[in-house]
Amino acid sequence: MSRATLPSAHNTETLTMSYRSFPAPVLADVYGELAGYFGAALDYDDVHTLRLNGAFGPLQALAADPRYAPDLRCALDAVLAPVSDDEATVLLNRGYCQLFLGIGGAAGAPPFESAYRGAGRLFQEPVGAMAALLAACGLQTADGFVEPPDHIAVELSLLARLTRDGAAGADAPDAAALRERMAEWVPAFARGCARYDRSLFYAPLAAVLATLLDDGARALAA
């Protein structure tokens, strides 16, 4: 799919889809791609590829739904608007660092579940809970990824895996439970992004994720 084949704003309005409309593998890939954006700042090659494609990867599947389309369009515009790949890389990097790496103080959105429960400290109960969930799946955080297991990229990666694989046994963690868990704190994370994101890239992606989790939770309740 080239940039020219993207659904237009006009035709997306007619394509509202429910959470259940997305096959599990597609959803899993969407979670995986979002994990990629929130897990580390994009480097030049990442940005170059995004600009060359003019589209997201699996995430682009949501662009047909008007609940997601404006945010995805906004995020993509933030990547495409700069005059060069270099400039885009700097703008996105600046946004990532200020939002997620702690240098902005309150003018940021810590990408950790612990930060949104209790008093806002890091390494709290969610770290233990997520470590237990990972262990139950025979997983651990990847070497070189020094974040605690309640980092949004880890939770999304596990959600992707659970969504793709389905329940592997009676004691295996449930994708729906993890999705619900994330739905409890990701909206606050997304509000933080909306308030402080200077890149105009991460806030819409966080909004997409919050909507997706909420949609999934409602679909589950229906």
């Binding site: 799919m1 791609e33 994990a35 990629g36 897990g39 580390a40 994009l42 480097d43 090659d45 990442d46 590829t49 995004l50 494609n53 589209a55 990867g57 699996p58 600046r94 660092c97 200020q98 790496l101 702690g102 240098i103 902005g104 103080g105 309150a106 003018a107 940021g108 959105a109 810590p110 612990s114 930060a115 949104y116 008093a119 806002g120 400290r121 890091l122 390494f123 709290q124 233990g128 470590a131 262990a135 025979g138 997983l139 651990q140 955080t141 990847a142 070497d143 070189g144 990824f145 020094v146 605690p148 980092h151 990229a153 880890v154 990666s157 606050a188 509000r191 933080g192 308030r195 402080y196």
Partner: protein, 823 residues
């Protein structure tokens, strides 16, 4: 249809199977590589472990590799509420997580766009990159300029522990690579440290003082002069023993008569139900002179003591009587300056001589312009009373820190492992390139005026031209005065490296930021009680380093490797080797003195603590008793061997701001000045719930913050005149700066004075912009950056006037602390 480029982002992997760590990790596609800190797992099995902090010893509860809670060590008689911060700071959102570099510096090199310092535009880099950049800068500046262009005067309390002091490590590294400019003294008591060696032959305000029990046994009247032992003793450079509360309880039980001379009614004053003399700030010298004059004219001074143990009293007496300047320093004269009734001044002077009296001072009156004068006047007053060296009499300048009146246990010393060593003279250091050591409080002067001369303690020096500044374990953007002048000066540095565990205002102004571990993430050793020496605690690493934090020692070893001096720097020793070395040195001393101590492995792996007995003979102690007993054999190490009330060495210096005997000099700013543009005196004393700026970024702040701001105490009358009530957000301002604060209206502070405690984190509305509003309440946006005098060149933080007004409109949010719950 074109085929899409493969999305690398989608291939990023944040998880791997637990059984195939290495193989899958290599395919993770992450931009950051294997972390050595992460590889070295130091987490302990679940359980409780004894650990230590500047706020006390504690049991840390570890669960699944996390530090989940703490409780005070059961042998701490009065745990501080600040102890909570020892846990909270480990997981504070303000932790520095990764090596970061200011974007403009990274892209354009040293000195690029200094105006963006403090604006928060950092790029994450790998440890390899960061270490290469720092080592490269050290090499560049050493080669292109010289050691006189590198400033490592890094100052601050930093982490606790005998091994992990990063400032020692930094200076050691720099000495091995050609040297650097360092600093002398400190921001706490540089005035005392400058003047006391001339007066009594030593700093005096350190080490064991007359013991608490001796006070209880002998003292009829104790006078606390700008001294608050129950506040500052909560902290210590070692592990505080918190014994001072017991002393106050005992004094209360004994009905000990006490007077507190202070613009603030302190907790100690309330506990003892003591007399409060709310002196006008900055007039302490005048008050002391007024009392001295009373003693002289009423013939209450101890002529025999003055004749046998002091020099120069006769010249000072002429000054008291106004024989040269025509102004007798009467109680009435003092009253007009200090706003205490003349009869109160006379009465207090008389009471000092009616029974055994102890004069106790804090350090506030010497942290102000002409700050050398008060300690000198204070000791002179005590000398006139004539009880120096008698049990329970005389003077003390350190009851407020390290519980210095406690008995000392029969324990070995606990020396540091690393030494800074001597400078390797790779380049000759020509005199015209500037001094090797500046007084620490003159750092901004140095940056603003390279090549100019300044006076210090009888000598003339040249300020060097600094290109590279490296700070480790300190926060000058809290402790230095006149923040806006400082921001301007910092723009002149080409490279600023900060190594710390939290995003302090200093770290936010850096070019390269290196994340260091906290005490629970590394191994160290420390003792309980600088003076009491009650115990030695094994500070074992309890958890893995958080994020990419590394131990200071490991950071410097890596830098030393890049600079080609690793073997000399580390001597082949690990951090734990050095802990063992410190302990075994103490063990050797103990063995020689027949003090029981287990071997290191037993201490480290089993007991975790060694406690020491306090002999009965240590309970009573009188400072200067030997001198009193025999002033010839045990003469003081002054020029005359006596207390010098008139000092010829200072006379020879000819300083107009430090005359040769205690003298009243009107400061540039104080309540007695004619100009009333800024009518309130700013008292920026040590904080109640922090160690300077440490813990301001933790939950402990909830104990005192007002409307999310630093509290500003203001007298009821001053508040009413401005329409201010408790809880209001106020703007405090003067000609140097402005900050917001949360008002606390109280009669525990005298009219005309506000209290805004130092250590509040600088939170500029516009980072890097001089004059900008500090949103949280840093008092050092208001204080002047002027020296005490040419003698001490110490800080004058307490020479400060300002105005307060109710802040109208919507106050900008505090952003220096991470409070994501509001997102």
């Amino acid at each position: 249809m074109m085929e899409l480029e493969k999305m690398r982002v989608s291939r990023r992997r944040f998880l791997q199977t637990a059984s195939a760590a290495a193989a899958l990790g290599a395919m993770s596609g992450l931009p950051f590589g294997w972390s050595a800190a992460r590889a070295a797992t130091g987490a302990l099995p679940d359980g409780e472990y004894l650990q230590a902090s500047h706020w006390g010893a504690f049991w840390a509860k570890i669960e699944n590799g996390r530090f989940v809670s703490l409780r005070p060590w059961e042998k701490d008689p009065h745990p501080s509420p600040q102890l909570l911060g020892a846990w909270d700071q480990v997981y504070s959102p303000t932790r520095i997580r990764y090596p970061m570099v200011r974007r403009a510096w990274l892209e354009k090199g040293p000195g690029a766009s200094p105006e963006t310092r403090g604006a928060g535009d950092f790029v994450r880099v790998t440890w390899e990159q960061a270490l290469d950049l720092v080592a490269g800068e050290i090499k560049r500046v050493q080669t292109d300029f010289g050691p006189w262009s590198i400033y490592t005067g890094t100052y601050g309390w930093g982490p606790i522990g005998r091994v992990g002091n990063p400032q020692t490590m930094l200076k050691r590294l720099m000495n091995l690579t050609g040297g650097s400019v360092v600093s002398s003294s400190n921001y706490s008591k540089a005035g005392i440290e400058a003047i006391m060696p001339y007066v009594v032959g030593s700093f005096d305000a350190e080490g064991p003082q007359t013991s608490h029990q001796t006070i209880l046994d002998n003292t009829d009247l104790i006078v606390f002069w700008a001294c608050d032992p129950l506040k500052n003793n909560q902290i210590s450079a070692a592990i505080p023993d918190h014994g001072e509360y017991g002393w106050f309880e005992a004094m209360k039980k004994a009905g000990k008569a006490a007077v507190f001379i202070d613009p603030v009614r302190t907790e100690g004053c309330k506990i003892l139900d003591a007399e409060w003399l709310p002196v006008r700030p900055h007039s302490d010298v005048a008050l002391a002179l007024g009392m001295a004059h009373t003693l002289l004219v009423e013939n209450l001074h101890d002529e025999e003591f003055l004749a046998n143990y002091t020099t120069g009293f006769e010249i000072f007496a002429q000054y008291l009587l106004g024989e040269k300047d025509g102004t007798p320093k009467t109680a009435e004269w003092a009253s007009a300056l200090c706003e205490l009734p003349a009869e109160t001044i006379r009465d207090l002077a008389r009471r000092l001589t009616k029974g055994r009296s102890m004069l106790v001072s804090g350090w506030t009156p010497q942290r102000q312009q002409y700050g050398e004068q008060f300690p000198w006047a204070f000791v002179t007053l005590a000398a006139m009373v004539g009880q120096v060296g008698l049990p329970g009499g005389g003077f003390c300048q350190r009851y407020h820190l390290d519980n210095a009146g406690t008995p000392t246990a029969n324990a070995p010393g606990l020396a540091g492992s690393l030494q800074i060593g001597k400078r390797k003279e790779i380049k000759e250091w020509p005199k015209e390139k500037g001094t090797t050591t500046i007084p620490c409080a003159r750092v901004v002067d140095m940056l603003l005026h390279p090549g100019t001369t300044y006076e210090h303690n009888g000598s003339t020096h040249v300020y060097p031209d600094i290109k590279l500044c490296y700070w480790a374990g300190g926060n000058p953007f809290h402790h230095h005065q006149d923040r806006n002048r400082m921001v301007e000066a910092w723009a002149k540095i080409e490279t600023f490296v900060v190594q710390d565990l939290q995003w302090t205002a200093t770290a936010r102004h850096a070019d390269i930021v290196l994340p260091a571990t906290s005490s629970v993430e590394r191994n160290d050793i420390e003792r309980v009680g600088v003076v009491s020496r009650k115990a030695i605690v094994a500070m074992k690493q309890l958890i893995d380093p958080v994020f990419e934090a590394r131990n200071d020692y490991d950071i410097f070893v890596e830098l030393a490797r890049r600079l080609g001096v690793e073997p000399e720097f580390s001597e082949g020793k690990s951090e734990l080797d050095r802990v063992r070395e410190v302990y075994e040195d103490a063990l050797r001393q103990a063995t020689a003195k027949k003090i029981p101590m287990p071997d290191f492995d037993t201490f480290w792996n089993k007991t975790g603590v060694v406690e020491f007995e306090i002999p009965e003979s240590a309970v009573r102690r009188t400072k200067y008793a030997d001198f009193r007993e025999d002033p010839v054999v045990d003469a003081l190490p002054t020029a005359s061997g006596r207390i010098e009330i008139y000092c010829k060495a200072i006379e020879k210096m000819g300083y107009d701001d430090c005359p040769p005997h205690p003298t009243w000099l009107e400061p540039v700013e104080w309540l007695g000045q004619r100009d009333r543009t800024f009518p309130l005196h700013v008292n920026s004393s040590h904080p109640q719930y922090r160690l300077h700026s440490q813990l301001n970024g933790t939950k402990v702040r909830e104990l005192y913050a007002v409307n999310d701001r630093e509290p500003c105490r203001i007298n009821t009358a001053d508040a009413a005149a401005r329409g201010i009530t408790t809880g209001d957000i106020v703007r405090v301002f003067n000609g140097r700066g402005q900050c917001l604060a949360g008002a606390v209206v109280t009669d525990d502070i005298r009219p005309g004075v506000i209290e805004l405690q130092e250590g509040a984190w600088y939170d500029p509305a516009e980072g890097g912009k001089p004059g900008t509003l500090c949103k949280y309440g840093d008092p050092n946006v208001l204080t002047p950056d002027i020296p005490t005098s040419k003698l001490g060149q110490a800080t004058s933080a307490h020479t400060c006037m300002a105005e307060v007004e109710l802040y109208k409109g919507t106050a900008p949010a505090v952003t220096v602390f991470d409070t994501p719950a509001r997102a």
